[in-house]
């Protein structure tokens, strides 16, 4: 069976595309899917460090495209999960080193070997973004509950719709349930109303993402953290399972709940 090519993009930088790609890759691999994460951010590679595979890079995506290495030589196997591999970006080149056509060819080759090809798009809407979108069967938009991120997401959604791809789906990242309850952060319903696209998942703000990234161990490797659990749920949804969305009702501290009692 041919694999699915899924691109994660956002318009705005710093919303968690790379973290989401790494964790979705891990989560899907834990569901026994053969996964390759492709870093399409040529010149600013980061997926390797987030996944903790930076010390094992020999060849990169541009080496493959330009024929200096075969695909199998460039792919890095994740020793923690036999189903997971990484195709790193080149660090010393720029976006113009690859064309849309080459990206499509590369991903078609990967499609034969993997169930999921996850492409981590660079921020922006220029060449690197277009290269990342060109091969995609499906697009996932990553957004944080902030006006700037939502605005950029809307722009990107418009561009994807114009490119005749199927309607993208949305991951809301770094949601802070306590702030939403106080009316101080855009909630899921607000964002969905404004962007008018289908929700794929909600990932709560979680400090363990920072410590996990420090160590190069994506949170989805374990079940303990809220964000890791959220990525596992997204992975199951991607595989077609009907997983209900979390409401984060009980995640606030006792102080928060106490203050809510007095607020009434």
């Amino acid at each position: 069976m041919a694999g699915r090519i899924i691109t994660l993009t956002s318009g705005k930088g710093g919303v968690g595309k790379t973290t989401a790609t790494a964790n979705l890759g891990v989560a899907l691999a834990r569901c026994a899917q053969r996964v390759v994460c492709v870093d399409a951010d040529i010149g600013l590679r980061n997926l390797d460090v987030v996944m903790g595979l930076e010390n094992r890079i020999v060849y990169d995506l541009v080496d493959v495209v330009e024929g200096r290495a075969r695909l199998r030589q460039a792919l890095i196997k994740d020793k923690r999960l036999p189903e997971l591999q990484l195709l790193p970006a080149a660090q010393t080149r720029d976006k113009s080193a690859v064309t849309e056509k080459q990206m499509i060819k590369l991903c078609e080759d990967l499609r034969k070997e993997f169930d999921f090809i996850l492409i981590d798009s660079p921020a922006g809407i220029e060449l690197g973004f277009r290269n990342s979108i060109a091969p995609a069967d499906e697009v996932i938009i990553v957004v944080t509950p902030e006006v700037s991120a939502v605005r950029d997401a809307d722009r990107v959604i418009g561009l994807i719709e114009a490119s005749e791809k199927p309607a993208p789906r949305l991951i809301i990242n770094r949601l802070r349930p306590a702030m939403v309850r106080r009316g101080e952060m855009l909630d899921t319903a607000d964002i969905l109303e404004v962007l008018a696209i289908e929700l794929l998942g909600i990932v709560p703000e979680d400090e363990t993402i920072i410590t996990a990234t420090n160590k190069g161990q994506p949170v989805a490797l374990e079940n303990r953290s809220p964000a890791g659990g959220a990525f596992m749920r997204i992975a199951r949804r991607l595989m077609g399972e009907d997983v209900p969305f979390q409401t984060f009702e009980d995640s606030s501290g006792w102080l928060e709940r106490l203050s809510h009692l007095f607020k009434r």
């Binding site: 101080e184 404004v194 203050s259």
Partner: protein, 105 residues
């Protein structure tokens, strides 16, 4: 924190999420239509000009904005009316009633 704020007599913090949503709806409506604030201002000036021919309006308080929902994008004009102008001779036969203050298009 809210309880503490109340004890200390501080005003509660505004619900900034609603502000964010409203600002987003305006800015996205403009982005999607690719209409700039300048264009909106030109539109406003021209609307004032046309409407003023027939109705005396409070020009300083005219507001033109856009909003966007999942269903549609709306152009909202709020035009405070002072009084109808005395009709031109040719039009005296079909004198219109005073229009509503808020019009949606």
């Amino acid at each position: 924190m809210n309880f503490l704020s109340r004890l200390l007599g501080r005003p509660p913090e505004g619900e900034s999420a609603q502000v964010a949503k409203q600002r987003l709806q305006l800015v996205l409506a403009q982005d999607r239509l690719n209409i700039s604030t300048e264009t909106l201002n030109v539109l406003k000036d021209e609307m004032i000009e046309v409407i003023s021919r027939h109705i005396e309006i409070d020009q300083a308080n005219v507001q033109v904005s856009m909003t966007s929902t999942t269903q549609c994008t709306c152009l909202i004009a709020s035009i405070p009316v002072i009084r109808a102008r005395s009709p031109a001779p040719a039009e005296s036969a079909k004198r219109a009633r005073a229009p509503r203050q808020r019009s949606r298009a």
